[in-house]
């Protein structure tokens, strides 16, 4: 069912929803950007439509709502422990189609991968409902269309934002009662069909080709360019890696908490093992690992889609202007080279 609400009415709707839901959306944190007098846009709880940033891609993804950067999972003292509390309210997240598709990957890794269901993720996820923010233009770092992630079906409501009003299309019956008395409106949700940038997805024929691609000189430039800071993966909407850390309360060394904290395969030491061993010791190794994971390995394992949804946050956040779509295209070009070499 479609509705048209002006901003004041939307805020009244948010007030009604607040009894049952916490609402999260991309929000502006003024002057908190990496550089002086720049802003950061990231997910946080909002109470009014005015707080939602519509005209800019969030720097960090919506995954932070379900898996906060630092999340206490249990508290311990001597031989007892207690799990951290589950969210009491349901969660509504405003996000774009690429981000909804990204949650499919989050769900798979946290809920199904290896036959294990992560209860901390699950308890958040089952309370979460998506509000799709219509996205028809995108930004210059977007390549969702190339990744087939420009459309999404898995949402409870969809919204179109204009200067005067917010158009709602409500699918979820749980939400319908909140719209009682709202002005109905007939409108058709649109999806972006073409990004400013298209990527050519690499098709890796066999293991031999994969081995050649791994050794291809294309990766070498990243030893000079990449600083292994991890900005790309922390902003990534599909990355799920975390580590666990214990906080021992200094006043009582027998009590503390275990947290999980986002981690990144791009930061040196991520793959450190006992005895000082590591698999990927250079920035180029780490970039290659990430790139292959996003557009080859994941699909090879699960069979359906590539992991990358083309949200482009990795490129947007990279302080050294390393473009991920450019990496993907370089991979495709390298594969053509490898194929030409093989057919000689």
């Amino acid at each position: 069912m479609g509705y048209s609400l002006n901003h004041r009415e939307t805020n009244a709707l948010f007030d009604r929803l607040a009894a049952e839901y916490k609402i999260y959306a991309p929000k502006r944190f003024a002057k908190q950007g990496r550089y002086s007098d720049t802003d950061i846009v990231r997910y946080d709880e909002i109470h009014t439509a005015e707080e939602i940033v519509w005209d800019q891609k969030s720097d960090f993804s919506a995954k932070e709502v379900l898996t906060p950067v630092t999340e206490p999972i249990f508290y311990f003292t001597e031989d007892e422990y207690r799990e951290s509390g589950a969210p009491k309210k349901k969660i509504l997240i405003f996000l774009r189609p690429c981000d909804i598709n990204a949650f499919e990957h989050q769900d798979r890794i946290y809920l199904q991968n290896g036959g294990f269901c992560d209860s901390y993720y699950q308890r958040m996820r089952e309370k979460t409902r998506f509000v799709l923010m219509e996205c028809t233009e995108g930004w210059d770092t977007c390549f969702c269309c190339s990744m087939g992630a420009n459309k999404a079906e898995e949402y409870s409501a969809a919204v179109r934002h204009t200067e005067e009003e917010i158009l709602w299309s409500v699918k979820d019956e749980e939400l319908t009662p909140y719209f009682a008395g709202c002005q109905e409106a007939d409108w058709q949700l649109q999806f972006i069909e073409k990004n400013q940038f298209a990527v050519k997805i690499p098709e890796i024929a066999d293991k031999e080709t994969l081995a050649k691609l791994k050794k291809h000189p294309m990766w070498q430039e990243y030893n000079d360019r990449c600083v292994s800071c991890g900005s790309c993966t922390l902003a990534c909407s599909t990355c799920t890696c975390f580590t666990t850390r214990d906080k021992i309360y200094s006043e009582n060394a027998k009590a503390g908490e275990r947290r999980r904290v986002h981690d990144s395969c791009q930061i040196a030491g991520f793959d450190a093992m006992a005895g000082g061993h590591g698999f990927r010791t250079t920035p180029a190794d780490r970039i290659r690992y990430r790139a292959l994971h996003k557009v080859h390995d994941y699909k090879a394992r699960f069979g359906d889609y590539h992991m990358c949804v083309g949200c482009g946050r990795c490129s947007a956040r990279c302080p050294k202007f390393i473009s991920f779509p450019a990496i993907i295209n370089k991979m495709s070009a390298a594969l053509e080279e490898i194929a030409a070499e093989a057919s000689k």
Partner: protein, 345 residues
Amino acid sequence: MNCDINIKQLQKNCWRQSKVPGEFMLQLRVPGSLIEAKHLERVVYIANTWGNGLFHVGMRHTLNVPGVKYENIPAVNAYIKDYISQVENEMCGVEMEESENGYPTIGARNIMACIGNRHCILANYNTQELAKKIEPLIFPSHYHIKIGMSGCPNDCGKGQCNDFGIIGQAKMDYVYDRCIGCGQCVEACKKHATGVLAMTEDKKVAKDACCCLGCGECAVVCPAGAWVRQPKKFFRITIGGRTGKHTPRLGKTFINFATEEVVLGVLGNWQKFSAWVLDYKPVYMHGGHLIDMAGYEKFKEMILDGVELNPEAKVAQRIMWAESEMRGQINVIPIGEHPVAGPQQ
């Protein structure tokens, strides 16, 4: 060459004497070292019409046109009326009478500044915007003052070589929950700044706030947005730096973490202080000499007169100057030639 030229007067009008008799170099002020590029067309015109076709990037970020003949100076002075009016009055809000006689004084030297946070990824404030607020406080005045402004404690704007350095600082907030414990801020602080950050046992970051420069390197390198600059801008004010043949020295910190109001208050008092020290005769001396003549305590008293310090501001209790004693040349004179203490033969 037989001209009757009042060199001193010309110098006051921002004309510099050349070794070639009868030639002078024009110095156009660029407060904050940034102006609209369209003004460069005027510089090209002056250089090609009255100069020798050359252009010099001034050492205090002025636009210098050498090789102007004495007899052409009135024409150039008339021509730069619009430049002065647009840059000084319109851009900086200096309320100067428009004149065909060129610059009225050279006393307050051009405020030089790095590009600041309009462009630079390390800078903590907009140097030009603050320079524009400072310009009307110091110019036009026959009392000399040299100011260098830098967006961050790297001090590319060479504030420490000036009477006053205005160096951008940020008070940092640590968003504990956003920190992933990667340690990049700790490394960056150690490498580029004062090494006040350390990893804690639980892989978060602890800070020794006392020695933080406020440079913001931690925010620049943090991949997670865990370090953020507080919105309020702060400045380290350095004083008494100078180049020169006699006793060059780097400036020393006068106030750490001063607000903009304090910066403007201090610089607003400079003319009063200079006048008092020099017995109301504006002769050219580096500001540091004036501070030395008055003594730091007297300087502090007069320069902070009526200035309400912000709570974060820390004022130097004393200053240990460290001149390069060019006159002594201790470092290059053989030991045997050093002055000897005690009874001489």
